[in-house]
């Protein structure tokens, strides 16, 4: 490696851009969340007032905020385990030595990941249609009653979870598949010599070896799922009865529909804080279980 100040000039443009258009605005967002910036302040900054933590306190007294927070947590709590389960199941199947056409299967299972979220959300509106949707057709073939997926407040969020699992499971699947392929074959041989059944191999060899990868993809998936927005925007417009309004959806509406940019910044910061705390907790749990 060569010591040279000139090296800095290679990194400088990117660092400048990240400072100007990311780090700066993040700090700005915090300052903004301490003001009553609204549509009048857009016209001129003389209408801007410093209000301290009032936006945050007001949020705590807004039922729409608690609703959005509850909806987002519901989506995360239901969506993350289902997504990881689907990813793990698919990865285990693909890893089996008995599989033919492995690459073809992998591509088919991965395809939804690269698709445009808005476009596939539109597809799913019709798949979930009460009368003419494929999903209710399958249900009726099984003799189950049809469900008003996107029109029933009790079913709208589960429907979005189902969609999110379909869209995203392939991503973690390929990561888990790579982790499975890196488990040394000797571990399995030793287990077989000890007379382990396939189920015991899974329980005592595969899963412990996968644990670090599983907890990493769990953290990343959870952080991503907290940022739910486009799915409810396209599929339900936050409804019915606010049952799919997420925290980010609330930020978008506060900020760019009603132009309460101070309040919207406070919402963004609460979301950031939430993601930060939850990922830290998960990291802490992961480290502790690795130590013991």
């Amino acid at each position: 490696m060569i010591a040279s100040r000139r090296g800095f000039w290679f990194a400088a443009p990117a660092l400048l851009v990240i400072t100007l258009f990311f780090a700066g605005p993040v700090c700005g967002a915090f300052l903004l969340s301490l003001t009553d910036f609204d549509i009048y302040a857009l016209k001129g900054f003389e209408y801007l007032r410093f209000v301290g933590l009032r936006n945050y306190l007001e949020l705590l007294h807004t039922s729409r905020f608690w609703r959005a927070l509850g909806n987002t947590c519901y989506f995360v709590v239901l969506g993350v385990p289902l997504s990881l389960g689907a990813s793990l199941g698919a990865a285990l199947l693909l890893h089996s030595r008995l599989v033919r056409y492995k690459r073809l299967f992998r591509t088919a299972l991965f395809a939804p990941v690269v698709t445009t979220l808005v476009a596939v959300s539109v597809i799913w509106i019709y798949l979930l249609h009460t009368r003419y949707g494929l999903l209710n057709y399958l249900l009726s073939a099984l003799g189950a009653p049809s469900i008003d997926w996107l029109g029933d407040p009790a079913w709208a969020m589960p429907a979005i979870v189902l969609f999110a699992v379909w869209k995203n499971f392939g991503y973690n699947m390929v990561i888990l598949l790579a982790a499975l392929e890196s488990i040394p074959e000797t571990l399995y041989e030793a287990a077989r010599i000890d007379g382990a059944s396939p189920a015991q191999e899974l329980r005592y060899v595969t899963l412990p070896a996968l644990a670090p990868t599983l907890s990493l993809v769990g953290i990343l998936t959870m952080a991503g799922y907290f940022q739910l927005f486009a799915e409810p925007y396209v599929m339900t417009q936050g409804g019915p009865l606010g049952s799919t309004t997420s925290v980010l959806y609330l930020m978008y509406e506060e900020g760019f529909k009603w132009w309460n940019l101070g309040m919207a910044s406070a919402v963004a910061f609460v979301l950031f804080f939430l993601i930060f705390v939850v990922t830290r907790l998960q990291l802490w749990f992961a480290r502790r279980s690795e130590d013991t």
């Binding site: 490696m1 060569i2 010591a3 090296g7 800095f8 290679f10 990194a11 443009p13 990117a14 660092l15 990240i18 990311f22 700066g24 605005p25 700005g28 967002a29 857009l42 199947l93 693909l94 008995l98 599989v99 299967f105 591509t107 088919a108 299972l109 939804p112 690269v114 698709t115 445009t116 979220l117 808005v118 476009a119 596939v120 539109v122 597809i123 799913w124 509106i125 019709y126 003419y132 949707g133 494929l134 057709y137 379909w166 392939g170 990561i175 790579a178 953290i219 990343l220 952080a223 486009a230 396209v234 417009q237 980010l248 978008y252 760019f256 940019l261 963004a268 950031f272 930060f276 990922t279």
Partner: protein, 278 residues
């Protein structure tokens, strides 16, 4: 061995059947989209839902491209995603190389700081960035859409991990031959980085093409809208016209799907690099 061979054959059938079913579930919505996009208006709204069009028609695509202006949005998306890709390469490849191979004061501390910034969701910066663009007169312009995608921590990280494998001797040799830092970068470093440049280009293009929230905020002019923004607006007006909407989804999804299928190897490399950052 027959006693062991038979269970293996049975579980082989089970595993392959399970994978066929899972792949069908995964690909079915996309195949159904393609099929319905060729149906006549109203044809898919029957019970049971028809699988294939009774007669293939291109009317939906014609309507989208002529009267509904989705062709314009397609070109907008193509322009934004291409320029965004080029810019992302310019900023991230040089920075990634610098963080891997060039020594400068505070380099490692800066890099750790960048990695730390990954925990901040991008949406936090959006509102002040919008106000900044408003001051600069860049709201409702492509420059405004492109700004957040110029440089990214992920891009820098991706290139850095790959560039670390460039042997120092190679760089030394170029310098002894009298090449300046920039000459060395262009004629020695860039050729060795080609695979990761393809990966980064692919991620940048797909990321920009699929992006929704930021273009939704910045672009209010119908003529400037990118495909996802135009499609979302169209689906609110034309919710009953499912054949039309499926054709619109095909127009949006097909380019990225084709790009992914032809460059799959490079795309997966990016995922693995991203997942070991923990």
């Amino acid at each position: 061995m027959t006693s062991r061979a038979r269970p293996a054959r049975v579980s082989g059938v089970l595993v392959n059947t399970a994978l066929v079913l899972a792949s069908l579930a995964s690909a079915c919505p996309l195949l159904w989209m393609l099929s319905v996009s060729f149906m006549a208006p109203g044809e898919s709204s029957h019970f049971p839902p028809p699988v294939l069009p009774s007669a293939v028609t291109l009317d939906n695509y014609r309507a989208l491209l002529s009267t509904l202006g989705l062709g314009k949005s397609f070109l907008n998306s193509l322009l934004v995603a291409s320029v965004s890709t080029l810019l992302s390469l310019c900023f991230n490849v040089t920075a990634g190389y610098a963080f891997a191979k060039l020594e400068f004061p505070g380099r490692d501390r800066l890099f750790r700081l960048l990695l730390g910034a990954l925990v901040i969701p991008g949406q936090v910066a959006m509102i002040p960035l919008f106000l900044l663009l408003k001051q600069l007169g860049l709201v409702n312009t492509y420059a405004g859409v492109l700004i957040p995608s110029l440089a990214s921590v992920f891009g820098i990280f991706l290139v850095r991990q790959y560039a670390r494998s460039i042997p120092d001797e190679l760089l030394e040799a170029a310098r002894i031959d009298g090449a300046g830092e920039f000459r060395t970068f262009v004629s020695v470093v860039l050729p060795t980085l080609t695979p990761i440049v393809v990966t980064l280009a692919l991620f940048s293009f797909l990321g920009s093409w699929n992006d929704f929230l930021w273009p939704l905020i910045v672009l209010s002019d119908d003529d400037l809208r990118t495909l996802p923004v135009a499609l979302a607006a169209l689906s609110r007006e034309h919710v009953q016209d499912r054949e039309l909407m499926m054709a619109g989804s095909v127009l949006t999804v097909l380019p990225v799907l084709v790009l992914f299928l032809s460059l799959q190897r490079y795309y997966l490399r990016g995922i693995f690099a991203g997942s070991v950052k923990g």
